[in-house]
Every structure is written in structure tokens, then in C-alpha cells.
Symmetry: C2
Subunit: 453 residues, 2 copies
Amino acid sequence: MSELSDKPSPSEQLESINQALNSGMFVHVRRQLQQMRPGDVAWLLEASPTPSRKVFWQLIDPDEYGAILEELSEEVRDGIIRLMDADKLASALEDMESDDLADVLRDLPEQLLNQVLTQMDEQDRLRAKQALSYPENTAGSMMNTEFISLRADISIEVVLRYLRLHHELPEGTDTLYVVDKNNRLLGDISLARLLVQDPNTLVADAMDTQVEAIPLLMTDTEAANLFERHDWLSAPVVDQNYQLLGRITIDDVVDIIREDGEHTMMGMANMDDDEDTFAPVTTSAKRRSIWLTVNLGTALLAASVSNMFEDTLSQLATLAVLMTIVPSMGGIAGNQTLALVIRGMAVGHIGDSNARWLLTKEALVGLINGLLWALMVAVVVAFWKGSWQIGIVLGLAMFINLSVAGIAGAAIPMIMRKLNIDPALAGSMALNTITDIIGLLSFLGLATLILIN
Amino acid sequence: MSELSDKPSPSEQLESINQALNSGMFVHVRRQLQQMRPGDVAWLLEASPTPSRKVFWQLIDPDEYGAILEELSEEVRDGIIRLMDADKLASALEDMESDDLADVLRDLPEQLLNQVLTQMDEQDRLRAKQALSYPENTAGSMMNTEFISLRADISIEVVLRYLRLHHELPEGTDTLYVVDKNNRLLGDISLARLLVQDPNTLVADAMDTQVEAIPLLMTDTEAANLFERHDWLSAPVVDQNYQLLGRITIDDVVDIIREDGEHTMMGMANMDDDEDTFAPVTTSAKRRSIWLTVNLGTALLAASVSNMFEDTLSQLATLAVLMTIVPSMGGIAGNQTLALVIRGMAVGHIGDSNARWLLTKEALVGLINGLLWALMVAVVVAFWKGSWQIGIVLGLAMFINLSVAGIAGAAIPMIMRKLNIDPALAGSMALNTITDIIGLLSFLGLATLILIN
């Protein structure tokens, strides 16, 4: 019964089942898979190379397909679905929550989608079409339409009897919603609150009317921030007439927070955040090449800057040795600011009222660090190269570049947001281009002015 | 009542209240603050520069202090607490959940901590000391000790009557735990399940015995991954004797997932992830300088590499112009792999069984991209500089560096994990050092061999 006593840790499980698979003990693997929860199987599939995934999928009990697909990340799920034919898929989707259902269907190729829809029974087909009708990445696309709603004029006693008519409540039910005859949301009552009420109380007197509802078209990220800020377990979704359409549950919010976090992290490393860790080599190589192309462009741009100073460099090779230092420091300092601002934007901390304050602050940080490192590097290099002039040139360039880096690191994401460009994706590349070019320009430029004649 | 009708959006709220503050309309600000939920006030404080925070805090109703402190991020909370005296703080902490209580107390300076503890009433002091006794970042440190446990031999009817004796259930209660007379966990029953049971059923027959319990010393990150994988709302925490000690609730898990994500993102940008976005300039400047120092070291290291080729550079200044391209491409390619592997580790996808597979895959990706970009850059530069030899040298260096980048990007985090070094913090710096040095060595080295004589 307990994880402590007889359950192996997830990673141990991963090791043992992979060994079993590699040594061809399929019967053993199938038995292990049957004992695992859908979430664990999904996790196992995500942690396995594509070939092993195929074998695992064959060994999984088809009744489990739906529950497992719900838990899989988009990339991996799409790969798995390609292994299934329309009717298997249709039956797998039957008892899926409406939001997960929409997720899966949205990624299907047109033709397969239609096949699957025709395979579904009438009710599921309507549910699917309804779910697909909401734009992606909105509250509508992440809500479940399975929930329990009550009228205000009945007693708790009646509610309790009504609930007992159910074999089980919709997954993740922690709150019941109270609506009027036009299905407009009046309030809600959590199960925890329901259970401490005197059975004779009316729902109207027991319900919480301060309920905050999520508008149908709010972005999923905004909705997730609200959940996080108010420690909600679920929240009702309403249309502009305040009619109750569905509810968002915390498990989907957790996925959004995880995905948004990964998106930012991977984006700043110039990675496509839905790249599957265990994708085939060619797929990965292709996915990465976009940003490598962009970077080659910016690198050649930087080279063309130093190219303007080829004479200077030929006269004083020491400059070539030192010219990488300033751009490198600028890149680091700028990316520090960039990361700070992008994080602040993600949780909605940065608005018009404090943007200027933040910009000024980061500029000042750049100035201070600029002075500090200018001094330090000037001294170091003056001693290393035995020339105070070179030290001074390097110091000045460092000061200029770190100051620029501070301003650029804060300004770039703010400007990009205004232009609806995702700073997490394009920010660091743009920043590094600026700090490279300013770094080279200032160092080689000043060197030409001061050292060459 | 509804967010749609009369509630402004969070960002609108942020704007308006800041304008009110700046124009000194304190009465108005106080009224607005009274209408806001603790979570919103916390969010407002986090989104405000330090000076405004002080003013806001003065305007907040002290009865709200506890609820707001619970919601604040560590950095901001510590700043606020410095504004409070011991007895105010003690009374604010009184009705805090035990895990949040521990969080706050853990960060207090020794002396203040003792003052606060003596100010607390006996019961709270015991609760606090208990909470503080669990190591940080473990299940123990994030669990609440407020929960409801039942015996197996009573009927649901009795449970319902027992619950009605409460004015309200402990915050975030979604499940009741069933224990034996030694407080060992036998199973659990969710409120949703409780409500669909026939009142005459025994708890023993209604409970779920498949409950998975979290060991007291599991890391908070592992626990969060389990929550995410199984869509839990809460989970019981047990000691090695399977005795029930507390429960972890999803709201704390959400914080862990958010913090871990930010830690990785900020870490890869060489930022201290608990730096407060609106911290004073000097604080920020100091925090950033650590990594800038490290980077200066690595930049000088790279410079000392090119320094070995000063003669070559003085003979052929074009090399100086081109020598930044190969390190730059290597850095990008390596960081792509690094980000992928770090993400995989974060969700526990990467174990001994698939590490070699992944390493090989990333090495191959590096080889393929290496070939591709070697060819491309060789052609471009051959035309630009009108010299096939230079093109070939650059191409060869590019191939070498991208291959190394692929291997290093995958190997570095794996090695660091074995050495218990956090790859998110030190990974990218180590990687860039390698790709810079190999890039310069291979390009300038080959150039010396092939072009100089």
C-alpha cells in the first residue's frame, strides 16, 4: 500500500522497466505497466527514446490509452497518436475531460480529425466541437464543461441527497456553483463549506457571493496568475453575460505554469520549448538550426564591425587578443537584466507605472557595475600588457558597454512586448547583438583614436 | 460581485493605486487596499519599488498582515518584516499555516526570532518549533499540520455529524485521512467521495487504501513532480513508521514549481533567482557582481588563448576579424543542448538508463549541425574574404567547435549533478568557457598551421 514499503522510487522504476525492455522481457514489462498509474506511464513514455516508446505503447492496455494521453506532453502525445488508427483513437478520447479532448483534437491533421469525429458518438462529437470552438490559450480552451450547478432556493439537505444520486462527482470537483434560471452565476459553495452547514440552511444563505469568475477569453497565463495569487483549486468560467460555461481546475493551471516557465527558460537559450528531449537526431538538428542561422547573421554582423578596424588590428595585434573581453562582459550583464525583466513581466509585476522606475534602476546598475569593471579590467590589462593606454581604452569601452547593456536589457523586453514580440524568444539574441556591436565599436574605435596615429 | 462587471483588471488596479499613492491620496489608497484580497495586496507590494512598499505597508490594516505575509515572495517578505517590531510580527504569525510560519521564522535573524517566539502563546510556539525542526526544502518543511483524520470503524453518517461540529475545515481541505490507533495511515477519503456515499457505509469500506504518502524527507521538488504527475490536490506526509504527520497542499506545490522554474531561468542567465525585481540599485549591483567576476576570469582566459597566437594575428588581421564567429556559434549550440538537458533533469526524465542515449544523440546533433554550418560559413567567408583557405580553416574550426558544444552541453549538467553542483547556476558559464576556448584554439591554431608560414 505505501510508497515507502513496497513501491520503488520513480527513477528506480524507470531503470528497472527499461532494463526489462532492453532484455526483451515483454511479459514482465506489460505486468509492470499494468501496475503503474496513467501519470507514471505518461512520464515513463516521455523519459524514453522514440523506439522504446513504440514498444511500450504496444504493451499498454488500450483501456488506459485515454488516461495516459491526457497526461502526455504535446510533442510526445502527437508522436504516439501517429501510431494509432482513427477508431482506437476515438474510443480513447471518449471519457477525456473536455479541455484535454480539445488539446488532442486541435493537434490532429485535418483528415484524421474528421475520421475521429465521425467515429465518436453524437454526445462526444458535440462536446468536442464545442471545446474546439474556443481560441487556443484562453480560459475557454482550458476549462472543463463537467461541473455541478445548483439553485439558490434549495436546502443543503436537498443538495446532499442530490449529490448521493451520483456514482461519483466530476473529476477535481471541490466547489459547486449556484446559478439562476438563466444559468447566470450567483455564487459558489465549496464542498468543505457544504459539509459544515446545518442541513436546513438554504444554499442562498450558505453560498459565497464574492466568487471571482474567469472571463471566457482571458489568456491562460493570466488565469494561472490569478489561481496562484488566490490559492484557488478551481474557478468558474463565464461569458460576457456572466453565464456559467465551465470551470478551470488547478491541475491544468499547474501545467500552464510549468509550460510557461519552460518556454521562457528554453526561449532564452534559443530553444524551441516543445522540442521533445528524446526526439530523433534529425528532428532536433532541424529545430535548432533556425536560431543558429540567426546567430550566424549576427556573428557576421559583429565581424563586419571589427572588419572596419582591420588596419588598426594589423597595426596592434594585442587589440585582437583583448577585443573579446568587453562584448563578453556586456552580454552577461545585459542578460542578467533581461532575465529579471522577463520574470517580472511573466507574473505581471511590470506595468506602465513602474516601467520607467525599473529602466532607470537597471541603467544605474549598469553604470555602477560599468565603473567597477572598467577600473578592474583597466588595471589588470595595464599590468598584463604593460601599457596604461590599452588599459584605459579597455576600461572606457567596458564602462560604455555595461551601461548600454543595462539599458538594453531592460528596454528590449519592454519594447518587444509593446510590439507583441515574445521577449523570451527574441530578447537574448537581440541583446547580444547590441552588446557585441557596441563592445567592439567602443573598444576598437577608442583604440584607433587613442592608440593609433 | 463579478470581476467582469465592477472589478478592474489587476494591471489597471496596479496603475490606479500607484497614481493615487504618487499623488498622496492616502485615504483613497487605504480604502482600495481594504477592498483587495491578501493575494492581490502581496502582488501589489511585489510590483512596487521599495519606498512605495513602506508607505503601502503603513496603510494596510494590521489584521491583514499575516495573510499578506503568507503570500509574499521571500525577498520582499524579509524586507517588509524589517519594518515590523517583534510583537506586531508575533500577532501577525498567529493564524498562519504551519508551513508558511516555518518559512517566515526560518529567515528571521536569531535575536528577532527569539523575541517573536517569546511573544507567541504557548500553542503557537510549540507549532513553530515543530515546524522549524524539519530540514528546509523537504516535504516536512512544506506540510501543514492542520488536517482532519478519522478512524476506519465509524460510519459516514458519524463523519458528517462530526464535520458539522466544525465552524470551518482546515484551509484547503479536500481529503480526510483514515488512521489506526497508532496514527498510522490506513487510507483516505476525498470530500467528493464522502458526499456520494450512503451514510450507513463504514469509513473502512468507503476509503481509498491505494493512497500514496510522501516521506517526510523527500525533497520539495520531487514531491511537486509527484503532485504534477498524479494531479493531486493534497497528499499526506508520513514518517518512516508510516505515521501521519501532516499534509502538503497544491497551493504550496504551485509555489515550488514557479520557484524552481524561475531558479533555472535566472540561473542560466547568471542571476540570483531571489533577487527582488524592485530592489535598491546598490543591492542589485552587488548581487550581480559575483557572476560578472567569474565571467571576467573566463574572458581573460579566452584572451590568453588568443594571446598565444599574437604573431599569427599580427601577420593576418583578417583572422582577428573572423575569430569571434566560431566561439559565438559554439556558445549558442551548446546552450541549446544545455537547456534541453537541464529541463529533462528538472522533471526527472534523465536517469542512468537514458543518459548515454541522450549524450550520443546530442553529440550527433552537434556533428550534423557542425557539418552544415561549417559548409555554410566556409562558403560565405571564402567569398567575403576572397580566400578559400580562410573559408576552409573557419569551416573546420566551426565543425570541431559545434561537435564539442553538443557533447559538452549534454555532459556538463550530467557531471555537475553527480558532483551535486547545480547545473542551472554553473552550467552555462562552464559551457561558454569551453566553447570559447575550443573555438579560438581550433580557429587560430588551424590558421597558424595552414595559412602562416
